[in-house]
């Protein structure tokens, strides 16, 4: 055809928008470093990874994602304990010559990360601080940031890239975020954004297992953390188009357990409000979400063991008994 139709030849199939969520939980990294220090001489050198090493794996990954296609866009979001924030956006630098070089990207990421950590610490110190809200990172917050960013990209251009989210998670799940995380997962599912997850902590993450399962992403818990870059580039760098032809790791099972709304505990079996589907670990006289007063205590339907049902509705709770 002619020159006018040239732009339409940029098939968006090849172009990816990758939002990387980096776990910047100081408690996790410091304590895992301490644990590693204790057993430094022992035979477990690969179970933990210092944060500096992590950056050494992640920053090259961002660069290689950008190298895979010149239209690829990479966004880095830090997940803190008190806040979340955008660290780096490859779309921002734009055409400037300084924006392209690798050391510049690296130093910018590090600078912004430092700023983020300082800010995160200040927020924790604020007057209305809650005593150690816990040690889990705000996964729900960073997922929401990523989803919002992707929605903005969708709305800003006619031809949108293939979006996906990559969670690099170390700290354990915060059961108190259950509802928020599940909502984020379902909205990602609705917009067809796969959530890939790479868990670097000691335990598996039930949230991320569900997230990847529901959205069709890849869940992986690497065994050799010192070879993290290899995992990242072999498994998570593949774009959605190529995934059709590749055999990627599949989890052996998914932990579908939900958290109860009353104590934020992860439970196998519980009570579900018949009106608003809130989940509770024990009998209540009144549903705390919708205020339904229960004349008969058994109006809460007890569900158990309805495992591995396909997710048919936008928001479902499935109770899963591991054995």
């Amino acid at each position: 055809m002619n020159a006018a139709s040239a732009p339409s030849k940029l098939y968006s199939d090849d172009v990816s928008l990758i939002v990387v969520l980096l776990d910047a939980n100081p408690f996790f990294w410091a304590s895992s470093a301490a644990a590693a220090g204790d057993s430094a001489s022992s035979h477990h050198p690969t179970t933990t990874l210092p944060f500096s090493k992590l950056l050494n794996h992640v920053i090259p990954l961002l660069n290689s994602l950008l190298l895979l296609n010149q239209f690829n866009q990479v966004v880095l979001v830090a997940t803190g304990v008190n806040s979340c924030g955008y660290i780096y956006d490859s779309g921002d630098g734009g055409g400037g010559s300084a924006g392209g070089s690798v050391p510049a990207i690296c130093s910018e990421i590090l600078r912004r990360l430092e700023e983020f950590v300082v800010k995160d610490r200040l927020q924790g110190k604020g007057p209305d601080k809650v005593v150690a809200t816990g040690v889990s990172s705000l996964l729900s917050g960073s997922l929401s940031l990523a989803l919002c960013y992707i929605q903005r990209v969708f709305r800003s251009r006619a031809r949108h890239p293939q979006p996906r989210i990559l969670c690099l998670q170390g700290s354990p799940d915060g059961p108190e975020q259950y509802v928020a995380v599940m909502n984020a997962i379902f909205s990602a599912q609705r917009s067809m954004i796969p959530i890939d997850s790479c868990v670097m902590g000691v335990q598996h993450s039930a949230f991320l297992q569900q997230a990847s399962y529901i959205t069709g992403g890849v869940y992986l818990k690497p065994q050799q953390l010192d070879g993290l870059f290899q995992y990242l580039s072999a498994v998570f760098a593949t774009d959605l188009q190529s995934r059709n032809f590749l055999q990627l790791p599949k989890p052996a099972g998914v932990d579908f357990r939900a958290s109860c709304f009353c104590h934020k505990k992860t439970i196998d079996m519980g009570y579900v409000c018949s009106v608003c589907l809130s989940i509770f670990c024990k009998h209540h006289k009144k549903c705390s979400t919708c205020g339904l007063v229960l004349i008969y205590a058994n109006k809460f339907h007890s569900y158990s063991n309805s495992k591995r049902k396909p997710f048919k509705y936008d928001f479902c709770f499935f109770f899963y008994k591991p054995h």
């Binding site: 990360l113 610490r121 979400t289």
Partner: protein, 602 residues
């Protein structure tokens, strides 16, 4: 029943070519005489030895009929016919003969077994018999069950059918067949074919397509009624129509205009369809005034892949200067959808085009008479008036948001915050390996230190260490290959499919008979008559037989032993429950009746 004879080939297995000859069927015997008098394959078989018959589906490769002997011994007489109608004649004949035999056998068996002659000697009408036979013919599983239970003298014919009344009833209703509607494929799919060498373009019209054209394009329909056969022949009419279609398709508006100017009949096809336009206007007037399409606009899927259409008509500029119609794709799609939804109201055969056109016209008149109903108009007006907003009667519209309805926010958030903290305190401290008892300051300074370390040292070079990378890749490969063929991960895969064919059939057959027997068994309680008592006795002995067989299947050593026992276990349990009930009843009874020897007297 008269005898029939057909030319057929006799074979002992399906694959062999077979011996040509003549198959003759009489009331109680069938014979086969080969064309070649030297052949030894002469047959004369009594129908009493035939236990069932199978046949290949109509339209399959061969027209086969297999008259089976005892299922245990296997084997049978296979005949191949030259066509399906001959095969079907023989099949129906065999079906009738076999049905008669079965009825006879079961009747003979019934008489001594049951004292209540009214039940077993129930006179069956021939229609009823035929219906039963037809059901048995159509459903091979039912036939197997029938063979095992009725001919095996466990249930009587009437008992067997008593629970299947619905099948028999349904059958009569089924004759009222569902009418086929219009195809959902669009007319646009009927592409003209060119032969490539000449400039000839061929359209092929079937009565089906013609009917669809009439329904979708009222102008063509009207033209047909006006022109054919007074002005032109039907063939000329369709040639003209196809010509117009072709011009429209090639988007050659200049040529179309020229043709239309010359030929006024052809112009009819190219002009706007005024009947359609009228109808559309009428429909728009009927649209519910509460419909707000803009409200749905935000809910777009357009940004998702595979949504939306490539040609939405927005880029197709309308040629306003000539009055030839520029039908847009959207119009076509909508019109087609409307016609498909309206359905086909004609009961007329599609062969005669003229008749179809007239019938369609009649049905349209009727329906348009319906739509002019005053009531609907009134109702519409009422709705409009109800929906019309009168400004000074309205509540203020400035509600900025819909508040989230949590009945008592404090209860929801505060109490739970405390709970959450408590829960965290207990679980977090005891968390297995990582100790979080770290000072906040320490933790943050550690993180800052790590970042500045990277800043100072820069990135490692090389990033990939070959040894580690190799380990990682081989680990990944192993993981992927191990999860790939994991058993039971595929929900579509059934356990039964993995068993050997024979075992699978056996288990399925036992399962169906157990279901049937148990249904009869439990429905016989409480035992009030000696007839029921005898029935239960019969059922119990049949169930004991199956129980032994199931045990035998379960104990066979094979690779699938575990899976088979998982399948068989529930069946055994169901039977056990029945036996236990039987024993308990028996016990109770003997206690009650004390010394009475043979238990059951009314």
């Amino acid at each position: 029943m008269a005898a029939i004879s057909k030319v057929a080939k006799y074979k002992t297995t399906v694959k062999e070519p077979g011996i040509p000859g003549v198959l003759k069927m009489m009331e109680d015997v069938f014979t086969f005489t080969p064309h070649d008098p030297r052949s030894a394959m002469k047959l004369r078989v009594d129908f009493r030895n035939i236990k069932g018959h199978k046949f290949s589906k109509d339209g399959s490769k061969q027209a086969l009929l297999n008259l089976t002997q005892d299922s245990e011994k296997g084997g049978g007489y296979i005949f191949e016919f030259s066509n399906f109608t001959e095969r079907n004649d023989c099949r129906d004949f065999v079906g009738k003969v076999l049905g008669k035999f079965q009825a006879l056998v079961s009747k003979q068996n019934d008489q001594p077994a049951s004292e209540k002659s009214a039940v077993s000697l129930e006179q069956l009408s021939t229609i009823e018999m035929e219906r039963r036979m037809k059901l048995l013919r159509e459903d091979s599983e039912l036939q197997k069950l029938h063979k095992e239970l009725v001919i095996g003298n466990v249930l009587t014919e009437s008992e067997f059918w008593a629970t299947r009344k619905n099948l028999l009833d349904d059958d009569s209703d089924r004759t009222l067949k569902q009418r086929t509607g219009f195809k959902s494929a669009m007319l646009a799919d009927i592409r003209p074919s060119t032969d490539g060498r000449t400039n000839k373009v061929t359209f092929s019209l079937t009565p089906e397509i013609i009917h669809q054209i009439f329904a979708e394009k009222p102008a063509v329909h009207r033209a047909f009624l006006n022109f054919v056969p007074s002005k032109m022949t039907e063939k000329d009419f369709w040639t003209k129509y196809c010509r117009a279609e072709y011009l429209h398709r090639t988007k050659n508006s200049v040529a179309a205009a020229a043709e239309a100017a010359e030929d006024e009949e052809l112009a009819v096809f190219l002009k706007h369809d005024d009947i359609l336009a009228d109808e559309a206007r009428r429909k728009i007037r009927r649209v519910d005034p509460t419909l707000d399409m803009e409200a749905d606009l935000g809910d777009d899927y357009i940004h998702l892949p595979d949504h939306g259409i490539l040609r939405d008509g927005s880029k197709e500029t309308a040629d306003s200067e000539n009055d030839l119609a520029r039908r847009t794709l959207a119009q076509d799609v909508n019109r087609h959808a409307a016609v498909v939804l309206e359905g086909r109201a004609l009961d007329i055969e599609l062969g005669d085009t003229r008749a179809v056109a007239e019938a369609l016209a009649r049905s349209k008149q009727e329906s348009s008479a319906d739509t002019l109903d005053e009531n609907s108009n009134l109702e519409r007006q009422e709705r409009v008036s109800r929906m019309t907003e009168i400004e000074d009667l309205q509540a203020p519209h400035s509600l900025p948001y819909a508040p989230l309805c949590i009945k008592d926010p404090r209860e929801y958030f505060d109490s739970q915050q405390v709970n959450a903290l408590k829960a965290l305190g207990s679980t977090g401290a005891g968390s297995k390996t990582i100790d979080y008892n770290l000072n906040t300051e320490e933790a943050y300074s550690y993180l800052m230190h790590q970042i500045s370390e990277v800043k100072a040292q820069g990135l490692h070079n090389p990033i990939v260490q070959s040894e580690v990378a190799c380990k990682v890749l081989s680990g990944l490969t192993q993981q992927i290959s191990s999860t790939r063929y994991h058993l039971g991960k595929n929900p579509q895969e059934s356990v039964l499919d993995r068993l050997p064919e024979r075992t699978k059939d056996e288990i399925m057959l036992h399962w169906t008979s157990i279901q049937e027997l148990l249904r009869h068994f439990w429905s016989s309680y409480p035992i009030t008559t000696s007839y029921l008592y005898n029935k239960v006795l019969r059922l119990k002995s049949a169930m004991t037989d199956i129980y032994q067989k199931l045990k035998a299947i379960k104990d066979v050593q094979s690779d699938f032993r575990h899976q088979i026992s998982l399948l068989v276990q529930p069946m055994l349990q169901a039977l056990d429950a029945a036996f236990a009930h039987y024993d308990a009843e028996e016990h109770k009874h003997s206690k009650k009746n004390g010394a009475k020897p043979n238990g059951f007297v009314q």
